[in-house]
């Protein structure tokens, strides 16, 4: 049967060049060059396209995600508007992923978690953004009629999202207020994990690695009752500790 040939997408040369820089040329040794070339682009014309390409971190190699984060931080000096938009955009992608919970988007969603963590590592966002995202992942859609679609009991993808983010940047939360924030989060995380019932082995192994890396001495609770008791204790302890301590460390992270 006669068929018309498949029309391949023709991109304008400027877009082709941007894609070549980001998806072909970019590696550890060329990043300075790529950054310089990006700075030379006609920004008013291609800023939106560049943002689109920066969100395609899942198309490249997983081990290269940090290079895109590094470029973002490098560009913020000259194009702060762009660097701010990258953060807003990746947070939106994470949120949208939770709203849709589409199986086909999983790879992309994991890459975006890694990207967010790397943006923290390059000091482009502060820890509050990371913790807000972590808690959002635990609670989004819970207590609503859509809970069974957004986070069904047997679905462990959100655990993967948390693991990915903490594997990327969790080791920096090792002192001061961000250490305490991670300690606390990990107990809430444990409660979430326990609420899932049985966890696939591969995820359980990743969890064991994560806890061994970040908090080797932390208790892994084995029942909801135990973890709830730990949370009650934590909250009482927090109430007892004067808040001025928290304030004085406000700017330390």
């Amino acid at each position: 049967p006669e068929r018309s040939a498949r029309v391949s997408k023709v991109r304008p040369p400027l877009h082709q060049y941007i894609r070549k820089l980001l998806f072909t040329d970019l590696d550890k040794s060329t990043i300075e060059h790529v950054l310089r070339q990006l700075r030379k682009l006609p920004w008013s014309e291609c800023e939106d396209y560049l943002l689109k390409c920066f969100m395609k971190v899942h198309k490249g190699k997983y081990s290269q995600v940090h290079l895109i984060a590094s470029l973002t931080a490098g560009l913020s000096r000259y194009h702060d508007e762009f660097a701010v938009a990258v953060v807003d955009e990746v947070l939106e992608e994470i949120r949208l992923g939770l709203e849709l919970n589409d199986y086909g988007m999983q790879q992309k969603r994991i890459a975006h978690m890694r990207f967010l963590g790397e943006l923290y590592n390059y000091e482009h966002i502060d820890s509050s953004v990371i913790f807000e995202t972590l808690y959002l992942i635990l609670v989004f859609g819970h207590g609503t009629p859509e809970q069974d679609v957004l986070d069904p009991p047997e679905d462990c993808f959100r655990i993967r999202m948390v693991i990915t983010l903490l594997q990327t940047c969790g080791h920096y939360f090792d002192r001061g207020s961000s250490k305490r924030k991670l300690d606390k989060f990990l107990i809430y995380f444990q409660r979430y994990i326990l609420s899932k019932g049985s966890i696939p082995l591969d995820i359980e192994f990743d969890l064991q690695d994560l806890f061994a890396d970040l908090r080797p001495n932390m208790t892994r609770y084995s029942s909801i009752e135990e973890v709830n008791a730990a949370l009650v204790e934590l909250e009482e302890h927090e109430r007892a500790v004067p808040t001025d301590k928290a304030n004085s460390e406000k700017h330390s992270d």
Partner: protein
């Protein structure tokens, strides 16, 4: 970390995909003209396969203005040209960062 009560940057989500920036700012300015410092519109996409809502980020001058804005726009229904309804969500933007107003000219 910013005190929750100091937050001034909000995100307006689930706007109609075909909404234009000018149509949105017209609606906002009716009540909030001069009360925000910065607005960034991200237009959506209306294709069969991947529909994407439009969004807007707004940085208000005073935290109190955020409350009034949310009272007005959170849950606000936009109707597109085909009559479909879009229920808007107003939230604090998870990242409160706003671009520095001074723009350094890139000597490249």
């Amino acid at each position: 970390m910013k005190d929750p009560f100091d937050r001034t940057k909000v995100v307006l989500r689930h706007l109609p995909p075909t909404l234009s920036q000018s149509a949105l700012t017209e609606q906002i300015d009716g009540r909030f003209a001069g009360r925000y410092k910065w607005i960034c519109f991200r237009s959506g996409k209306n294709s069969q396969k991947h529909q994407r809502y439009s969004r807007a980020y707004i940085d208000f001058k005073r935290p109190e203005d955020v409350i009034e804005f949310a009272e007005f726009f959170d849950g606000h229904i936009f109707v597109n040209e085909k009559g479909s309804q879009f229920k808007t969500i107003v939230e604090y933007a998870p990242s409160q960062r706003v671009a520095k107003s001074w723009s350094k000219k890139d000597g490249r």
